[in-house]
Subunit: 139 residues, 2 copies
């Protein structure tokens, strides 16, 4: 499936190892992941050279083309919050993954949109399992 | 006018003094600001006792009822990112205020939606001026 993976870039990269485990698992399972490069350690410098309008248009077009969105939400991010709303408006199923003990905005945790799921995970391995279960149920 | 003021809550309160100057100015200018309490120092504990679904429904209904949205975006926030997208979809003019030297997601800075403005400010006083100019032009 074509999957849009959303994670914090400007907002902070503390969870980069989790982003990498999630995108690696998606690619290993044969999914198309146009944003897989957003998990890489050099993404902040790579994305800095791209025109902001090009990034915006690229990303919303990727969301439109995706079957579903997987968002890691342990670190606050305007971009990820915006993308979650955009994806729900576009009718895409959205899985938000949050590390246990972290807090996320009530605009996410209190959002009862039928296409939105929020799941807490202990470690990367469990985050991958939750993502795989979410995607298996879409088939 | 009825103005929806958006700021980070769960994401971090570093800019609370700016939020307070902005909401004070809005109220002093005679605007209705249903979210003015979100600028207060005790908001995190106050909002913690409210059911997340109630907060979500309350906030999106306030956005729907607002003439415009003013969002302080210097601190990353899923909620504010979501609200900006929600407001644009609802046809509301949105002003994003960013402290000079701070970075914001390209989903905001690269977004060429005709109802979205992003302005950088040096200090609270200039942020208030930019907000007042934005609102004056809506009349």
């Amino acid at each position: 499936m074509n999957i849009y993976f959303a994670c914090s870039i400007t907002g902070g990269r503390e969870f980069e190892p989790v982003y990498q485990d999630l995108t690696k698992a998606l690619l290993a399972d044969g999914h198309d992941v146009p944003t897989a490069h957003l998990a890489a350690s050099n993404v902040v410098s790579l994305e800095a050279v791209v025109d902001p309008h090009e990034v915006y248009e690229r990303d919303v077009n990727w969301i439109r083309a995706a079957r579903a969105v997987v968002a890691e939400v342990s670190v606050p991010s305007h971009g990820v919050g915006y993308e979650i709303g955009f994806a729900l408006d576009a009718g895409k199923p959205v899985l938000c993954l949050l590390q246990e003990g972290r807090k996320v905005s009530k605009m996410i945790s209190g959002n009862s949109h039928p296409h939105l799921q929020l799941k807490a995970y202990r470690d990367s391995a469990q985050a991958v399992e939750l993502m795989q279960k979410f995607l298996a149920e879409l088939k």
